[in-house]
Amino acid sequence: MDPEIIARFSAAVGEKNCIREPEQLRTYESDGLASFRATPGIVVLPASTEEVSACVKIAREAGMPIVARGAGTGLSGGALPVAGCLLMGMARMKRVLQVDLDNAFMRVQPGVINLDVSKLIGPQGWYYAPDPSSQSVCTIGGNVAENSGGAHCLKYGFTVNHVLGVRIVLGDGAVIDLGGPVPDQPGYDLTGVVVGSEGMLGIVTEVVLRVLRKPEATRTFFATFPSTTEAGKAVSAIISSGIVPAAIEMMDRLAIVAAKAATGVDWPDVGAALLMDVDGPLAECEHTSASAIELARKCGSLEIRVPRDAAERELMWKGRKSAFAAVGRIARNYIVQDGVIPRSAIARVLEEIAQLTARAGLRVANVFHAGDGNLHPLVLFDARVPGEEKLAEELAGQILRTCLRYGGSITGEHGVGADKAQYMPEMFSENDLETMGRLRCAFDPEARFNPGKMFPTPRLCGDKEQSRT
């Protein structure tokens, strides 16, 4: 890289916040999806919106693509560098700028860790609802990029339902505020467009979060079943009864085995288990949890466990939330998929996945958000066995196609990123993708931010005059 460009980045953010050493650059080669790797040209760690803007301008003049990165926990390769790019690490921008609980919002920088938001306002009885499994390390900026979900989005919605506004730096370095704590600012809902745009529209440097008063009560139960068929029926019965659970998670036999190995939870060896939360006013909670337990029994539950105290409840959730990592105990390698299906099709789709898995001669652990049909099949393989990785990739692809055949989606919360861009044309028509591309062109006509993600083929924005012909 041109030493003069390096000097300019160095002047913008300070020499110690410019990373050029090949050893150190390696840290940034991939995100949570380690099978994709590329080396950035330089990593900068800006501390303010002004520094982000300055770096964007330098990169533009140098013709460099820009990729933003939060904690790098993403599972779709959204923060995968483009070789030789400017990688902007947002970790130093971790200040909480404003807390206004009366007006139920907080203003934070993108490097703030998800769980730290709730920790900060927890003592006053408030919290931030979106709770991706990586919430103890992932950042708000990364959550905004991917529109992160979590177990509790069944009742509370995703990141996009909890972001009121953003400050964004555009490709020419301009700083624009979208939305804010006062609702319904005149104009298009561009905050809603930026959330989930996978870092392809600009760099978000401030986020206005909607925060919630904690519910009066939470009731949790863990129910075991002979197989995922009965567990799936229980999910449908509970939701059809009018209960809106805060979360309802399913694990199959293999996922239970892995969670036990990793966390020491004393779960039995069964075909399937559900972990469910209801929350809200105490009497409502008592009623809905009792009804849900009754329905689970009617649908063939073998055993119901209710945690005795908060510590036991936390351990149950730890077992669930560490499921991905836990699979590392029972397999050398694995691929996580994130397909979504209509809830009523869970039993049928799991059966199809089992058949595909048997045909491929592999193992798949299923641990997922059953309430909203967001599957997380973990395709296990051993990369040392020649050909097995390829088989696993093919199986993962077949599973996504099965989700689409049932009218679902290729991703419920992890994002498309580098990983699933190839499947976008199976979910969307050429016109659909071209229309989405227009949004990208409106924000970032030079395609500077995170190029190569989401869309299977690079799109040129072209001159506006040309598009008129």
């Binding site: 624009i176 005149p186 561009l190 008592e286 009623h287 958000h369």
Partner: protein, 357 residues
């Protein structure tokens, strides 16, 4: 024109685009006053697009054509004990396409959010006549840019919405409304604080001004019998409230404004609108509606401009042309860029939207 099918609508838009004719899209016509008067050659009514395309009660998802009225949809959903948790005015006339385009809402926004929080998929006919879709038919999807949200509040300036998919909710088994009468302006927000401190979770909360400085505040609880009863009794112990029916509130006067500020700023809102005859306010959200007589254009424009110095004001209806949006922010450049990419020939309701878009 009133196309009878999506195909007809698509052909109509394509033909108009070919002839460079400007198009104004109308749903139920309940929000025609919103935005500046648009210049157009043809008016397209969506009333013929009135089919419920797909309803999967067990998945709590419904897809409708844009011209389906909210009342017709609610009737269909009620057959399965479900509803769309959205209660804008005039449900017999308001269409789902119009509700999306105008971002219409009612007091249930307190708990369930606005249409952006309930829509999960959309398909549109673009200004050039091409069909495109975004989102999906499952309650959770993050694949691709969020076209459904882009359509919310876009007032027919980016495309013709032809179908939309929504998440629906169970109709609550029980509900109860309590009203606090004669609440002073400065005491409206403290009532929100009391409710939050007690961890009550109203489905809707609406403050209605009865006289200057004096409000009735309605609180609606929904859920199962046990929870509703507990919350009702708890609130009765904490505040001076009486059981009531949920109020039907409509603004009065020829001038209708949508106003917004922080929830704690109701006093500022009231002070900014000395001319308002009616004023209602969603106190947890910081958004409300004002109605007023509008004696003449110059005085009214002056009064609205003055209000805009302290609060956000959008003119929803006025007997004469008024700046509907107020001064644009720096974000106007992005709103313009989106419009230019979606409608490069400026054929869809030109001039209606923010900043003359």
């Amino acid at each position: 024109m009133r196309p009878a099918s999506i195909e007809e609508a698509q052909q109509a838009v394509a033909q108009l685009a070919g002839a460079r004719k400007r198009l104004f899209i109308v749903g139920g016509g309940t929000q025609l006053g919103l935005g500046a008067p648009a210049q157009f050659d043809e008016r397209l009514e969506t009333a013929g697009l009135n089919r419920i395309v797909e309803y999967a009660p067990s998945d709590q998802v419904v897809t409708v054509e844009a011209g389906v009225t909210l009342a017709a949809l609610q009737k269909e959903l009620a057959g399965n004990g479900q509803r769309l948790s959205l209660d804008p005015p005039l449900p017999e006339r308001a269409t789902l396409g119009g509700i999306i385009a105008a971002n219409s809402f009612g007091p249930l926004r307190t708990r369930f959010g606005s249409v952006r929080d309930l829509i999960i998929g959309v398909s549109i006919v673009r200004a050039d006549g091409a069909r495109a879709k975004g989102g999906g038919k499952v309650v959770k999807t993050v694949a691709g840019f969020d076209l459904p949200k882009l359509m919310c509040g876009s007032l027919g300036t980016l495309g013709l919405i032809v179908t939309a998919t929504f998440r629906v909710h169970p109709i609550p088994v029980a509900h109860a409304t309590l009203i606090a009468h004669g609440v002073r302006t400065a005491d409206v927000f403290p009532l929100v604080r009391t409710i939050r401190t007690a961890q009550l979770e109203p489905a809707a909360m609406l403050a209605m001004r009865r006289a200057r400085g004096s409000w009735d505040v309605a609180v609606r609880f929904e859920g199962f019998e046990a929870g509703v009863t507990q919350q009702r009794e708890k609130l009765r112990a904490l505040a001076s409230v009486e059981p009531a029916e949920w109020p039907q509130e409509a603004p009065s006067g020829a001038l209708r404004l949508k106003v917004a500020a922080l929830p704690t700023e109701l006093e500022k809102v009231e002070a900014a609108l000395p001319f308002a005859q009616s004023l209602s306010w969603l106190p947890t959200l910081g958004i409300g509606f004002a109605g007023a007589a509008a004696p003449n254009a110059a005085d009214t424009a002056g009064a609205v401009d003055a209000a805009r110095r302290s609060i956000q004001v959008v003119v929803e209806a006025a007997p004469f042309p008024l700046d509907p949006w107020g001064a644009p922010t720096a974000a106007l450049r992005l709103h313009r860029a989106v419009k230019e990419r979606f409608d490069p020939d400026n054929l869809l309701a030109p001039g209606r939207f923010v900043g003359g878009i």
